[in-house]
């Protein structure tokens, strides 16, 4: 972006168009020679419900240290031989926060997502307050980006009620004064974030700019109503007022149209199929693939640099419904119609249990998750940054679990897998890396270093002193040789 402004400045000072071809060439050479000026991005993806990785069957961790090849690729990666060079598989990474979350009960499900995205232990699983004291890592990074914005995309979520609200409570992260709320609808994401690429001021903006009273009257009414309400009701109305304020800011300060990026086509995912739970596989996959396309455009146009994705809640009833390539089936085991949570909980090694789900099905399920990650990776590979570098090479894509294997078999589990893809301009993917001596927090600290966040440790020391060891974050965080 900066080089375009410089170019304009140069053009002005040159006083004519004759120099344009030369300047274009010079700019291009300069950019291609310096990928470090490209924006760096982060994508964090949470896989729900754990997986099977045990002493007697290490699955994700089966490859020896070093390059991952088609002949030694772990079962979940085997269908993706063309992408093995894009991923680093972190073996045996310690997740102290996960373990502490597990100790709180519920098999660790309730705290899995907040634990994964924050590296903390949600001390209070009974309320949405959850006891988390800091932002999720994606929001930490988003706050340091020029856009100060993060996409939080979710599939198959139920985050508003009861227990599932608890399972989703990392939404307490705040950005620009607002809670970060998941977006589950690609069409709405498109409408709210890509309209500036359409080549003009969105018509809805002009209504408010022309007649601000449109929103001033409802705002005043909400303030009057607020004074007549009790404490809890007032909090609800505060959210309304806050939303109105956010809307006015948004409508009043939309950036000018950008001409260098092309608007993507609006996703075709049916708005009516945005149910969070009991979701059919078709809409599950369609939605996630549509999100991936939008992320690619958003990165290419530098609309955003930080994204968090949740593939589902910890108990979700997503069924895959046959809407995936059958080549992903491990040993022919289809997971069509089976719910993600059920699959993860029924994983006897070496066969199927009485419920009909077994190890093979669980491996197929892991492949489905990876299929969606690989789709994003390939879309980021296909587009370039101003330097000419692939967007993927400037992007960290990480995915993982934060709950133990489906049976919570902590005694024999080797830990929850985490994979890292992309970032070739500052990392060396394509390896199986023994991370026994590192914690998830070390990984985030390493990411922070790669993303230029300039942290001296992952979190201030006071974050770890609450209730002794509950945060999982630790001082003296070390860098993982990614």
């Amino acid at each position: 972006m900066n080089f375009k402004i410089n170019r304009r400045g140069l053009l002005t000072s040159a006083g004519g168009f004759a120099a344009l071809p030369l300047l274009e060439m010079l700019s291009s050479k300069r950019a291609l020679a310096d990928a470090s000026s490209d924006p760096r991005r982060l994508v964090m993806i949470h896989f729900p419900n754990g997986t099977v990785t045990r002493q007697n069957n290490p699955t994700w961790f089966s490859a020896p240290d070093g390059p991952v090849t088609p002949s030694n690729a772990p079962i979940p990666f085997q269908p993706f031989s063309g992408n093995l060079g894009d991923f680093t598989i972190l073996k045996f990474l310690t997740q102290s926060a996960r373990q502490a979350t597990y100790n709180l009960g519920g098999g660790g499900h309730q705290g899995s997502k907040p634990c994964f995205f924050t590296g903390q232990v949600p001390s209070n699983l009974g309320t949405n307050a959850s006891g988390l004291s800091g932002d999720s890592f994606d929001v930490m990074y988003a706050k340091l980006t020029p856009q100060k914005k993060s996409f939080y995309l979710a599939n198959a979520e139920q985050y508003t009620d009861g227990l599932d609200g608890v399972r989703f409570n990392y939404e307490l992260s705040r950005l620009n004064g607002q809670n970060v709320v998941p977006e589950i609808n690609p069409v709405r994401l498109f409408q709210s974030n890509f309209s500036m690429l359409m080549g003009g001021v969105p018509p809805l903006k002009s209504d408010y700019q022309r007649n601000p009273k449109i929103l001033e009257v409802p705002t005043a009414a909400a303030q009057t109503l607020r004074a007549q309400l009790g404490k809890d009701d007032r909090l609800r109305l505060d959210a309304y007022l806050s939303g109105l304020g956010d809307l006015k800011t948004k409508l009043g300060s939309q950036p000018p149209p950008t001409t260098s990026c092309q608007a993507p086509p609006s996703p075709t995912v049916d708005l009516a199929t945005t149910n969070q739970r009991s979701l059919s596989g078709k809409s599950y996959f369609d939605r996630m693939l549509a999100f991936n396309s939008l992320i690619a455009v958003a990165f290419q146009c530098d609309l955003i640099r930080s994204v968090a994705i949740s593939f589902g809640d910890e108990s979700n009833f997503v069924t895959y419904n046959g809407a995936y390539p059958s080549g992903l089936n491990y040993n022919g085991a289809s997971v069509a119609l089976q719910a993600d949570h059920s699959l993860s909980h029924n994983t006897p090694i070496g066969g199927s249990n009485s419920g009909g789900f077994g190890f093979n099905e669980n491996m197929t399920r892991d492949r489905l998750h990876l299929f969606l990650v690989v789709d994003l990776v390939n879309k980021l590979k296909a587009i370039t940054d101003p330097s000419g570098s692939k967007v993927l090479d400037n992007t960290i894509v990480m995915g993982g679990f934060c709950v133990d294997d489906g049976q919570h078999d902590g005694a024999s589990s080797l830990g929850s897998p985490v994979v890292v893809a992309g970032g070739k301009n500052f990392m060396s993917p394509g390896r199986s890396l023994n991370a026994t001596n590192f914690d998830l927090n070390d990984l985030y600290f390493t990411f922070a270093s790669k993303l230029g966040m300039n942290l001296s440790s992952f979190y201030p020391i006071d974050q770890i002193t609450v209730n002794g060891n509950r945060t999982g974050r630790k001082a003296g965080t070390t860098l993982i040789p990614l």
């Binding site: 009960g105 519920g106 098999g107 209070n124 699983l125 009974g126 139920q158 508003t160 009620d161 009861g162 227990l163 599932d164 809670n179 709320v181 977006e183 069409v187 709405r188 809805l204 209504d207 007649n211 009273k213 449109i214 929103l215 009257v217 409802p218 005043a220 009414a221 909400a222 109503l225 309400l229 009790g230 404490k231 009701d233 609800r236 109305l237 309304y240 806050s242 939303g243 109105l244 956010d246 809307l247 409508l251 708005l271 199929t273 149910n275 969070q276 009991s278 979701l279 059919s280 078709k282 069924t319 419904n321 046959g322 119609l337 089976q338 029924n346 249990n353 009485s354 419920g355 049976q407």
Partner: protein, 628 residues
Amino acid sequence: MFVFSLRNNGLQVSCLRGRCAFLSTTPPDLQIVKCRLCYVFRCTFPERPMTTNQAIDRDSRGTVFAVMVPAFLLMSCQGFVLQTPAPSGLPAEGNGMPGQPPGMNPGDPTQMPPTNCDPTSAAPGHSALRRLTNTEYTNTVQALLFTAKTPGSSFQEVAKGPSGFTNDAEALVIYPALISGYYDAASALAKDVVASKGVANGAWSKLVTCDQLQPACATSTVSKLAKRALRRALTADDLSSTNGLLAVFNAGGSFEQGLQDVVVSLLMHPEFTTIPILDAKALDSSATFQLDDFELANRLSYFLWQSMPDDPLFALAESGTLHEPATVAAQVKRLLADPKAQALRNTLRDEFAELSALARVDFLQLGQTNALRDAMIGETNAFFTDMLSNDRSALSIFTNQQSFVNKTLADFYGLTFPVGTNVNSFVPMTGDRTGVGAHASVLTNTAGGTATFTNPIKRGHWVTKQLMCAEPPPPPPNIPLLPAATQPNTTIRQLLDAHVRGPCSGCHVTMDNIGLGAENYDAFGRWRTQYAPNVAVDATGRFSDGSTFSNSRDMYLVLGKQPAVKSCFAQQMMKLALARSFNKRTTDDYCVATSIGEAAVTETGHFSDLIVRIALSNQFLRQSGEAP
């Protein structure tokens, strides 16, 4: 070490430094009590008495429990011995302590079927300010602006709240993206209004009924529209030309633009998007007050129509007579008889029977047809339509012995569809099933989601949760796998037998018993008597009150006669009406619901009797204040 002996029920509990165990067997009628305690304290429940040194570790729940257990146990024990609970009388929701899921509140003495309570003096409770559900939003803009659009479907779908319904204030979170969505919808709808000018019977012609060139037309048009949008009497401030709606109108610059802007402003108004209840006493938490007639009109219409009040309701509210009991009763019956009451039917189908998920299942993947899926859902839809339109007893939900089948479903059930009847219409036919729980839709939806096996736990869970209001908690961590079958033709009953003898028994005795009682229905709800040649289905069982059944048909018949289901259905309807879960600090809500259930969910009663009694209850007509 603490040892508690629970009076009158035979339960003995021992706790030592946070380690608890139950030292005695549990009488059948306390299985759910045991289940709830089990979940919270992570105790095990031996079938044979244990000694204290056999106490089981509580699964490393954390030191906080070591402190809390004795206190909570005392509360729990006290609570449980206050009453003689029937196993099915416990309400579903609760969140008594951190980490505790809905369905759990063992320390709450109100979670008992109340006895000797006076429903007429019950405190009404507080229904929180809530926004419209997405369906309510769509229905309301359709009624207000005469549009066929469904903008609510573009908002993020709302999950059920603790009450079990999507209109629960707790589920209806307000967040920035929603407000942005409201704005997008409002802008589009407002433009449609202007675009309809000149269209016969279009929205413009219904909203602008005066000569727009006359000065008074703007005021009357805005006033009329605002009253309907805000669903209350207007104040001078509402219409103010300096900072009210007429100011919005005037800033538009033209009648068309002004009206368009007013529509946007109204649709963004908090009293359009939410349903407030206000009173001078609203900020006094010790006070109760009666809803004003406009608030009552809103409560009635959003309960039964999921939409705004119509003109007759507004007129009664404006005259100040709506709250009169005879008027309330008459309006309930009028609203129920109106086609808009299909919204209530849809809620019963999608949220009470929980069929919304089934509609999205691709039956082709299950080796069946989607026509069959639609027929299954159509049966339940037809059943509720019949119940509402013919004002049948709410008890028919449990005891009705007629199936509603089209040709597809009749063939599937093995019934002979009447010749000459439209094959797509649903006609009542007597078959081998009783009540909604035995509809193929519900049986399939709760079978486990596969073509090949049922899931009795899931089926039992649905019945205990939806029909008995006694939802067990979710399974604790480290649940063991069911033992693998060691012999061919092992039945699911044999596999589940471990549940009723082991530590899982607290929760599973009731659930499994009911689920296994439905085993005469296969994964798609077809009647069967054997799993395979020479492997008979055993669907016999007994409820904790001693009543027995010999097959699935009998099981649902017996179930329908359980007093708990009557109270439960009254509870369910009250929660829907009040858009909230029950107040767990008092017995008031349960008292009223139980009273209404006993009186109205009867063989000779009518569905409208139940709704009228709810609408005339303190809980519906009144509201408790809230601390400022």
